[in-house]
Symmetry: C2
Subunit: 301 residues, 2 copies
């Protein structure tokens, strides 16, 4: 099949698998709808989101086009730290449902808190050392919150496959690890980062940026390219490369770096020698807004 442009809604699409996209709020409803779809022989795909949908999310819905597509929309409180942006995180459920409908989703699952965190709840899924690096130290508890909510969504929807974006590279790796470790009966698909025309990675948090901050935010992507260029030119000193990345960000005095790192793409560990599949990743704070981005590069061994 010829790949279609990511996020392009105008292309020809097979007939809708259901008469109309349902929007449901309870675990029982989503299970009934999924069971009906499965009995019709359909593969079940889950696209977990926190809403505020953009072309990155649409690319995930699009990638799942052959399946019965369940999009969950839930701003998960346990993955936000006490000083983070849970309260102001964009909540645009009506617009999100319209996006899902247009993208061809079959079901939107927009649960109330009590469906996901029932009274008295206390169990958590705890990731291992993969969560201790990159974003981990800057967002204590974040990946535990992610693993917990994703495990719940997997158990509620029971999909055959779930789609996540490569923009959250560490999250993708941690979820893949969780699925293997806990023998969860589904596949994980990771889809490429979708970018604005100037290269800025699509993010629901981009909406927070003032026009000035928006213009400056691209420096993270530029820093990734600086690293990529140095690496493809044979650069082999991670410290020197991340220093060059920092210099790119430092052109903007008011942008704070959380980290700029070059790590093994398989385990997120620092590399003795730069070879094989490596992840160049960074997180910056532009005003109050935290942005992340990354690139994967395959170097000769």
């Amino acid at each position: 099949m010829k790949p279609r442009p990511v996020g392009d809604l105008s292309s020809t699409r097979p007939p809708s698998k259901t008469a109309a996209m349902d929007v449901v709020a309870t675990n029982a409803q989503v299970r009934a709808s999924v069971a009906a779809a499965r009995s019709r022989g359909l593969t079940i795909a889950l696209i977990p989101t926190m809403g505020a949908l953009h072309a990155g999310h649409i690319s995930l819905i699009d990638a799942a086009r052959d399946a019965f597509r369940v999009v969950s929309i839930y701003v998960n409180p346990t993955q936000f730290g006490p000083t983070e942006d849970f309260a102001r995180y964009p909540r645009t459920i009506d617009a999100d449902c319209a996006v899902c409908r247009q993208a061809g989703a079959d079901l939107v699952f927009a649960p109330a808190d009590s469906e996901i965190y029932p009274p008295g709840e206390q169990t958590r899924v705890r990731p291992g050392p993969l969560a201790d690096t990159l974003c981990g130290p800057f967002r204590p508890g974040h990946f535990e919150g992610v693993c917990t909510v994703v495990a719940k969504l997997f158990n509620i929807v029971q999909p055959d496959v779930a789609y996540f974006g490569q923009k959250d590279a560490q999250q993708a790796l941690i979820i893949r690890r969780m699925v293997i470790d806990l023998a969860m009966p589904l596949c994980i698909e990771i889809c490429p980062i979708v970018r604005e025309p100037d290269g800025l990675a699509m993010s629901s948090r981009n909406a927070f940026l003032t026009p000035e901050d928006r213009a400056r935010a691209i420096c993270l992507y530029r820093a990734l390219w600086v690293a990529r260029d140095m690496l493809t030119a044979g650069g082999s000193n991670p410290g020197r490369i991340t220093a060059a990345m920092r210099a790119v960000i430092a052109e903007h005095a008011d942008i704070k770096v959380d980290y700029l790192s070059i790590v093994d793409a398989a385990n997120l560990r620092p590399m003795e020698s730069l070879a094989g599949k490596i992840l160049i990743a960074g997180a910056i704070r532009v005003g109050k807004t935290r942005l992340i981005d990354n690139m994967i590069l395959e170097l000769p061994r």
Copy 2:
């Protein structure tokens, strides 16, 4: 249906649901076998065990008699502390398979470590405050190990129902909580404690007891009865009751008490006033062997 005596293998049994009981070692094999049973319309029951099967386990297999019965046998390393009895825990797989066969199990799943803990594994399921009391402080990490292995087994076998014994009262409550919290798609059945003729709760660890220790071990059950008698006679002071329990154990100078507690059976918290469903629970150490037992009592509110 008339209830049959627990652990009685001589009673009439419906025809075996499969020609012969299979013993498998891999996740793929157990999934294939379960999928075949499900396609025949059978309910799938899982009885998770660490082997060294006794009449308590048999009562669980028996309780699941209407289902396709999968017995897992796996001595889970992560639920033992570094100073505990993992190395010497009884491993009697051949005898266990014979017990399962006689009890009418359809499938024994006896996995290698690498099936349950694949290379690089690091994810854990972490229970909440329910794990911080009773056995929790004496066995750090134990219930996290239990939740983790049980979650894995649930994901591998994907049963409709899983059976556990009331002997491990705290474990039963924590697993019920985990299933609700993570929206796991199965039911949990808790079966009554099965006891030796003198009242000692069946336990794989009873095999460790010398004849002298075996005779003394019954003091824990006697202590539970002392508490029960005081409570049913209107005793309302938990401190006085647990002191009376301690006095029973103290008759044996070489038996150490881990705890003797009277708690709310729903949340394991100490009770201001003794009313409703309460759990009397204790753990003692007889020689190197740790034994637990409990009773549930319903008091007028």
